[in-house]
């Protein structure tokens, strides 16, 4: 724990922070305890606009827990979260998603018995007219429902086209091959039109060729949609080649942060992640 005067300074800074669009995600002193275990311990970092930011670390280091904290699936024990200069600590997941943070899941969470198209259309939820009046308009097919529906389908088809699944838009998501499911999940996340995209182990279960393609694909996403990307990945070469900056977690703590070259040669990282067998 930092001494109290430092905390106070932090708080003063927090109050002063203007709406700073450059700092897309600002994680401050994020801490999460499970029983006696500190899964994430006092982690702070900033993700800048347009970055591809990598989060690596050995298993159990707290990477996915951090993702869950950022997207509100679990609440921090202490610490604050800022998105584009605005604090959102303690908000519910759907609010955070509506604000513009989308994610994929480590163990793929598609809506398995729905079609690929429906999976993507669901994520257009926040971009269509809703509420009780939306329900009534929709059931009676009154404006703006028909137009909304047409646009939703068109946009979803575009995204499916982009990930190469348009031809199988009507196939149930659970019938897709593993790699296709990962791509569908990304298309679904993009349908939210997020400003920040969190990818949890996007390369898991892909072969070497697919991994190569994935790097280009992620870069393309960043450029085409002008989004910021935060990703967890186990496959070290992929992360090193792809990310602008990398944060390394070990036992819930941030042990290194910087550009790939620096992180790669950081002795603490080598010891924690690769093991010291000397």
């Amino acid at each position: 724990m930092p001494p109290t005067w430092e905390m106070t300074e932090e708080e003063i800074r927090a109050r002063r922070v203007p709406v700073d669009e450059q700092r897309v995600l600002d994680v401050r002193h994020m801490t999460r305890q499970f029983g006696g275990l500190l899964a994430v311990s006092n982690v702070s970092f900033v993700v800048e606009k347009g970055e591809i930011f990598g989060l690596i670390g050995p298993n159990g280091a707290g990477k996915t827990t951090l993702f869950n904290l950022i997207t509100g699936l679990i609440q921090p024990t202490s610490g604050q979260l800022y998105f584009r200069g605005e604090e959102y600590t303690g908000q519910r997941p759907h609010y955070i998603a509506q604000k513009g943070i989308a994610r994929t899941f480590q163990n793929i969470r598609l809506f398995g018995s729905l079609s690929a198209l429906e999976n993507v259309k669901i994520a257009r939820h926040t971009h269509t007219f809703g509420g009780i009046f939306g329900l009534i308009a929709g059931v009676l097919n009154l404006p703006p429902a028909p137009e909304d529906e047409r646009k939703t389908t068109a946009r979803a088809m575009e995204l499916l086209e982009m990930v190469g699944l348009a031809e199988r838009a009507h196939v149930q998501a659970r019938n897709f091959a593993y790699g296709d499911q990962r791509r569908l999940e990304i298309a679904r996340a993009l349908a939210l039109e997020p400003r920040l995209l969190l990818l949890d182990e996007p390369a898991a279960g892909m072969n070497a060729q697919e991994k190569q393609g994935l790097s280009d694909f992620i870069r393309m996403l960043r450029d085409k949609f002008s989004i910021t990307i935060l990703l967890i990945e186990h496959h070290v070469p992929l992360v090193m080649g792809l990310c602008d900056r990398i944060a390394v977690l070990d036992f819930g703590q941030l042990i290194a942060l910087g550009d790939p070259r620096r992180v790669q040669h950081d002795p603490a990282v080598i010891e924690a992640y690769l093991g010291d067998e000397g």
């Binding site: 699936l73 759907h94 899941f105 729905l114 079609s115 929709g138 059931v139 047409r150 838009a169």
Partner: protein, 320 residues
Amino acid sequence: MNSFLLISMILAAMLALSLYLPLMAGQLSLASPGFYALGGYIAAVMSTKYFVVTGPFPVLYLLAEMAAAGAACGVLALVVGIPALRLRGIYLALATIAFVEILRVLSLNLEITGGAVGIFGIPQPFSDRGSYLWIAIPLLLLSMGFIYRLERIRTGRAFAAIREDELAAAAMGISPTFNKVLAFMLGAILAGVVGALSAHVLNTWNARQGTFDSSINYLAYVLIGGSRTFVGPVVGGMALTALPELLRALADVGGLPVWLAEFLRNGRLIIFGVLIALGTVFFPQGMVTPELLARLFGRRLRRAEQVASTQPVDHGAQRR
């Protein structure tokens, strides 16, 4: 077929739909009998205490009661749903069973509900029971039409997303609480409206209406009928309501051995129970599945798809 059985079948179909609505959002609620009972009491009290008329009871009053019952049940569902829908799976089912039981004990003891005796002599708008079909059939078609549309729009998709994976749905910007409570309310409103109509059909209303047993019966309607399309609960509700009567009718067929006719008359509920158990074993998807519907109405679907290939339209028809 007598008209009372037909009305009972239609009411059962709608009660099954009232359970299907929350199930669309993945919520196993067994609260429908409670709202059904409440709706019935609202109609019974209104018609015997406030809408006192000479001569036949105006249909307009009946419709007003149904609206009032729906509104009251909707509000109660909102109040109960917000805390209760934090529960998942079997826990929600048990909480709603508790809700139904609490309502039942209340209605047994309150003065306004007529205690254990209940309320009887509920006025009749029609001279014969068959005429209720003029209300029951349009109401069924209306609720089926509503759900048909619902499954094809934003809200229905949000329900489906929550049913599939609540956390992932939340991560897509869908508020689980709002949509779960909405689905729960829609089911409650339907059950309340049906209860109001039912009170008039039955002419009397008491605490035996809407008990724990009926919660499980409605669940059987939905699951035996098929829970993956709204056609399933409708078919299930109708079939399971008709089945015991069908077995009774079988007993009167001439030429049966005496013991068999006897068994069909007195033991028909044994057969009913066995058929429910066998139904789940042999038709785990229920009698009606989306695939079956696609086969039956296949031609129309294919045409819809051809339209799709030229211009983007909704393909909700192929859901689930």
